[in-house]
């Protein structure tokens, strides 16, 4: 069903989109969907959506895993490995180079100012993505209370967050949420 050039086309496309995935991989996901589902027909929309839901719910490098499943579908294990490298390789290189550059000037006065301006905005964004996640996860007052309780515990105690995640999972599993 897929031509011999399919793995190369997929890998090349992933190399490209991962280099421009500003704001994380979810921002280029619609593009990957078009490429994989609409342009090449390697899988159906439903299959793509299932992969996304699964990647979101297992721990680990979830977007890299998701692309590996797409690669698997096209070319088995080598496809999965190639997709993984294409997804994290370019960003890693860019991160490393820019960190080196940033670090070289870490005590420069201009960088102190950039830091003062930049960090609050980014932290607002982090809190916002927590809220966006909460909106999707909080289906009623019980789950909302769980989100608030987890945030409070994290803020006032140094308790290992794993206990909170386990408790959340147990409460959910018992059907209490």
């Amino acid at each position: 069903m897929s031509s011999p050039n399919a793995p190369i086309a997929l890998t090349a496309h992933l190399l490209l989109v991962s280099s421009i995935s500003f704001g994380g991989f979810p921002t280029v996901l619609p593009d990957v969907r078009n490429f994989v589902v609409a342009t090449h027909g390697w899988m159906t929309d439903q299959e793509f959506a299932n992969l996304f839901a699964m990647a979101q719910s297992i721990p680990g490098p979830n977007m890299i895993l998701m692309m590996s499943f797409v690669g698997w579908k096209v070319w088995g294990l080598p496809g999965a490995v190639a997709s993984a490298f294409a997804t994290f390789g370019p960003p890693c290189t860019i991160y490393f180079a820019s960190y080196r550059l940033w670090d070289r000037f870490r005590d420069a006065p201009w960088q102190q100012i950039v830091r003062l301006g930049l960090v609050p905005v980014v932290m607002g964004l982090v809190i916002a993505s927590g809220t966006v996640m909460a909106r999707a996860a909080d289906t009623g007052w019980r789950t909302a209370a769980l989100t608030i309780a987890a945030a409070m515990f994290m803020l006032v105690t140094r308790l290992n967050p794993m206990w909170m995640l386990v408790m959340g999972g147990v409460l959910g599993g018992l059907g209490l949420l």
């Binding site: 500003f22 704001g23 994380g24 921002t27 839901a53 699964m54 990647a55 979101q56 719910s57 297992i58 721990p59 680990g60 490098p61 977007m63 890299i64 895993l65 999965a80 994290f88 960003p91 890693c92 860019i94 991160y95 490393f96 820019s98 960190y99 870490r106 102190q112 100012i113 950039v114 003062l116 301006g117 930049l118 960090v119 609050p120 905005v121 980014v122 932290m123 607002g124 964004l125 982090v126 809190i127 993505s129 927590g130 809220t131 996640m133 909460a134 909080d138 769980l146 989100t147 945030a151 515990f153 994290m154 803020l155 967050p161 995640l165 959340g168 999972g169 959910g172 599993g173 059907g175």
Partner: protein, 188 residues
């Protein structure tokens, strides 16, 4: 480059970086940043909250998964290129292999209600943890009204106005930096 000599780069082993990011990866439901901060700042005390907030902010401006960027930067900070490779390998290899195998299994059982309920509870908790991590990293700036204003704006524009991330970043950050430089000039 005086500051380089001050840093205890040799104190952290490559194995420790590997393990730390293996844990970050395996625990990172929804938000690996929660665990990266927990381990690198709170437990191991490799870097301060200030440095961690810097790294997170830098990564926001680069393409790719931010948590991968955090692993790259902390690895580079502690041990240079080798540190980066150790951190990234820890983050990726084992979780990737397990995830790939479990994923196929999971897809077959994704419809089971109990599995969905458990994941629902975990997702709700994970959201709370992420919110708390953002608040904690904002704490060093709590006495600066401008910082709180821009944090609130960024939060509001994403949460309530639903604007795309990049639009928010590129409109707020220049303003925020401009205001910080005025603040800084006055303080002198």
């Amino acid at each position: 480059m005086i500051d380089i000599a001050e840093r205890p780069k040799h104190a952290v082993s490559l194995a420790a970086l590997f393990t730390a990011f293996l844990i970050v990866s395996l625990c990172g439901f929804g938000g690996g940043i929660v665990w990266a901060r927990r381990i690198a700042v709170e437990r191991r005390r490799w870097i301060t909250d200030r440095d961690f907030a810097d790294i997170v902010s830098l990564c926001q401006f680069m393409p790719g998964p931010n948590i991968v960027g955090i692993a790259v930067c902390i690895g580079a900070r502690m041990r240079g290129v080798l540190g980066t490779i150790a951190a990234i390998s820890g983050f990726l290899i084992i979780p990737w292999a397990t995830g790939l195998s479990l994923g196929l299994l999971y897809l077959e059982h994704a419809h089971l209600p109990i599995l969905r309920n458990i994941l629902g509870g975990i997702a709700a908790t994970a959201a709370g943890l992420l919110i708390a991590t953002g608040i904690r990293l904002l704490m060093p700036h709590r006495r600066r009204p401008a910082a709180l204003l821009f944090a609130a704006l960024a939060f509001g524009l994403i949460t309530f106005a639903g604007l795309p991330l990049l639009a928010v970043l590129f409109s707020l950050v220049p303003l925020s930096i401009a205001l910080a430089s005025i603040e800084n000039a006055r303080a002198r």
